[in-house]
Amino acid sequence: MKKKSWQRALLTVASLGLALTLAACGNKSASDSKANSNEPVKISFWNGMNGPYQKALKKIINDFNSSQSKYKVVSTAQGDYTALQQKIMAAAKSNSLPVISQTTYTTVPDYSKNNLIEPLDNYMLKGDNKLSSADLKDIYPSFLSSSKYQGKYYSIPFSKSVRVLYYNQDILDKYNLKKPATWEDIAKDGEVLKSHGIYGMGFDKSWDMEFEGLARQAGNPLVGVDGKQVNLDSADTLKAANFIMDMVKDGTAKTAGEDFYWTQAFTQGKSAFYAGSSAGVTQMVAQAPKSLHWGTMPLPSYNGKKATEIAGNDIVMFKSASAEQKKGAWAFMKYLMSTKETAKWAKATGYVPLRKSATKTADFKDYLKKNTYNQAAVDSLPNGFQSNAFLGFSEYRTKLLEAVDAMLTKNEPVKKALTNLQTETEKIIKDNQQ
C-alpha cells in the first residue's frame, strides 16, 4: 500500500513535468506556425498608452483592422513607458519580441546596434506601398529627422508633444503685463511679480527641455548629430543654463520639485507662466478652476530665434518578425501617419498631428476653434526640434537630469555641473563606440 502511493506520487510528478514541457512547446508552435492563408496575419503591437490614450488607440486599430482583411493588429498595453522599455529588453533576450512597439526614438541607436530593429527604408522609400515624396514633404521635418539614424529610417513618429507656454491671464491683467515675446520679457515680468509673492515662471521638476531649447537658440545643440560634438560646457550652453538658474536663484522662477509637474501650482496662481508639455493641456483643463483665465502660446523667442523641444514616442519594427508581418506592420504604420488618422489621433489625445495637411483639414480647424488651448502646440511645430540620438543616450539623459538636480537641490554651480556633465558625456560616447 505504502509503496503504491509512493509510486503514484512519482508518476504524478513526472506527468506534471511532462505536461508543463508540452504546454511550453505547444505555446511556441502556436505562435510560430503560420495561420491559415485565409486568416489575417497577426501583427502584435506593444505600447505604453493608458486611460483615454489607450481607448483612442484601440479605436484606430479597430478601424485599421476593419479597413482591410489581410492583417490584424493586436495591441498590448505594457504599462508605462519605463515598464514598456523593460519588457522590450526582456523580450529581446528571450526571443519573444512583438512585431512593432512604441519606444522613444532615442533608443534607436542602441536597438540598431544590437540588431533588434529593422530599417524602414525598404518599406518607406521603396516598394509598392512607399510614402510619396509629397507625403514626405507633408510630415514635419523634425519628426522625420529624428526617425533617421545614420542615414536610414528606423522609426515612425507617433505620440508627440511639444513644449508650450501656459500663461495666467488674470495675473497678467492684474499687474498690467503683456504676453511675453522673448524669454527676457519673462525674466523682467518675474521681477515685477516677485514683490507680490508670485513667480514669473514655473518649470516641471527638471528644466532640461527648456534648457536644450535655449541652448539651441543661443547657438548649439547640447550634443551634435550621432554624438559627434558635445557642447555641454560651451559658452552658448552655459549662457542658456545660467539664464534659467539666475531666475531660479533670484526667486523669479521655480521648479515643481516633489509635485513633478508645475500644473498644480499654476492652477493655484503661483506663477504667471509655465513652460510645460502640450500633452499636459488635458490635465490642466481638468484641474484648473473654472474661474481661472488661462491660455497657451508657443514658447517666446531667445537670442532672436524660436525653438521648442518635441518629446514623445515613435514606433519601431523588430527584425524578428516574418516578412509578411513586416509588410503588414508597415501598412499599419503608414495608416497611422495618414492625414485622416493622425488628425483623428491628435483630436482624441491632444498629441500633435504629424502632418501639415492634417492641421489644414476643416475638421481639425473646427476642433482647434473649440479647443483653443491646443492651438499653441500646432503653431509651435514648425520650430520644433528633437535632441540628437546617439549610442548611450539613456545613460546621458540620466546624467543630464542628475546635473540639473544637483544645481537645484545641492546648489552646485552651473559651470561645475555642466563641466562634469561634459566629461561624463564624452566618456559615455567614447565607451559606447568601442
Binding site: N114, G257, D405, T409, K410
Partner: protein
C-alpha cells in the same frame, strides 16, 4: 520512523517530497544567483545574443572607483541602521501594549497590519502627500509646534529621513504580529514564578520577556536587515522614479537597477549585486554568531 537509518530509498523518497520546492527555488533563486555571479565577471558582453568575449575583474574595479557606488553603499548602511533598530523596538513596544489590552485588540492588529499588505506604490503616494512641503500633513503638525516648513522630499538633508520614517511605518505590522506570537508562547508560569520571587513589572520584562522573546527578536532583526539592504521600491515610488534629491536616497539596489535598465551595463549591475550579497552575508553571519550567545531557545 524518526530513528530509522537513512537508506538510498528513504533519501530518494525525501527528495521526492522536496522536489516541488526544490525545482522552484533552483529555477528562481539558485540559478539566477549563480548566473549573476558569473555575469559579474563579464567585461565584454553581448546581452541579447548571450556572447561573452572577455572576462575579468573590471566590473569590480569600476565599482570601487565609482563615487556613485560609494554613495549607494553609504546610503544603504544609513538606511539599515536607521530602520532596523527602530522597527524592532517600536514593534516590540506596540506588541506589548496590544498584548495587554483585550478590548479592540483584533481591530488594532488589523490596523497595524494593513500597511504591510498594501501596495508600496499606494503607500508611497500617500506619504508623498504627507511629506509635501506646501500642503503636507506632516508640515502642518510641525507648524503647530512652531517648526517652519521642511522640504522633506526635495532637500538632500531630509530625504533619507523621510524614507526611513515611511519604511519603519510600513514594516511595523508584520513584526508586531511576530512579536505577538512570541509573547503568547511565553508560559504564564514564568511570570507567576517571578512574581513569587518579588520581581516587579520591569524586572519581569527584562528577566522573563526579553530572554524568552529572543528567538523572535532574532528572526525579526535578521529579516529586517536583509529586507532593508534590498530596499528599492519605496525609493522608486516615493521619489517619482529618481534616487532622491542629489542622489540622497541612492541605494545599492537602486544603483543596480539604474546600471541594468537605463545604462545597459549588465556586468556592472551584476557585480553590484554580488557586493550586496556579500555585505548581507557578512552581517547575517555576524548576527548568527551573536545569536549563539544571546538567543535562548
Amino acid at each position: 520512523m524518526l530513528n530509522a537509518k537513512p537508506t538510498i530509498k528513504s533519501t530518494l523518497k525525501a527528495l521526492l517530497y522536496l522536489l516541488p520546492m526544490l525545482v522552484i527555488s533552483i529555477t528562481f533563486s539558485i540559478y539566477p544567483i549563480i548566473k549573476s555571479f558569473i555575469m559579474s565577471f563579464y567585461t565584454k558582453y553581448d546581452f541579447f545574443n548571450d556572447i561573452v568575449s572577455a572576462y575579468g575583474f573590471d566590473n569590480f574595479k569600476f565599482l570601487f572607483s565609482d563615487p556613485d557606488f560609494h554613495i549607494a553603499i553609504k546610503n544603504t548602511l544609513i538606511f539599515v541602521v536607521g530602520v532596523v533598530p527602530l522597527t524592532v523596538i517600536l514593534s516590540l513596544v506596540i506588541a506589548l501594549l496590544l498584548n495587554r489590552i483585550k478590548w479592540l485588540s483584533g481591530f488594532f492588529r488589523t490596523v497595524y497590519f494593513l500597511p504591510f499588505v498594501t501596495s508600496t506604490v499606494a503607500i508611497a503616494q500617500v506619504w508623498h502627500w504627507i511629506y509635501n512641503s506646501d500642503y503636507g500633513l506632516l508640515n502642518y503638525f510641525l507648524s503647530l509646534f512652531g517648526v517652519s516648513a521642511v522640504s522633506w522630499l526635495e532637500s538632500p538633508k531630509y530625504a533619507m529621513l523621510a524614507l526611513i520614517i515611511m519604511s519603519v511605518w510600513k514594516n511595523l505590522g508584520f513584526n508586531i504580529i511576530l512579536f505577538l506570537v512570541g509573547l503568547n508562547n511565553i508560559n504564564e508560569r514564568y511570570y507567576q514564578a517571578a512574581e513569587i520571587d518579588g520581581a516587579n513589572a520591569w524586572h519581569q520584562f527584562t528577566n522573563v520577556t526579553i530572554p524568552l522573546l529572543s528567538p523572535i527578536t532574532f528572526l525579526v532583526s535578521v529579516n529586517g536587515v536583509i529586507g532593508s539592504f534590498k530596499v528599492f521600491d519605496q525609493i522608486f515610488a516615493l521619489f517619482n522614479g529618481t534616487p532622491g534629491p542629489s542622489k540622497s536616497a541612492l541605494t545599492i539596489v537602486y544603483y543596480l537597477y539604474q546600471k541594468f535598465y537605463t545604462e545597459w551595463k549588465y556586468g556592472i549591475a551584476a557585480a553590484s549585486g554580488v557586493v550586496l550579497f556579500f555585505m548581507i552575508l557578512l552581517v547575517t553571519v555576524f548576527q548568527l554568531w551573536y545569536s549563539k550567545h544571546h538567543v535562548h531557545y
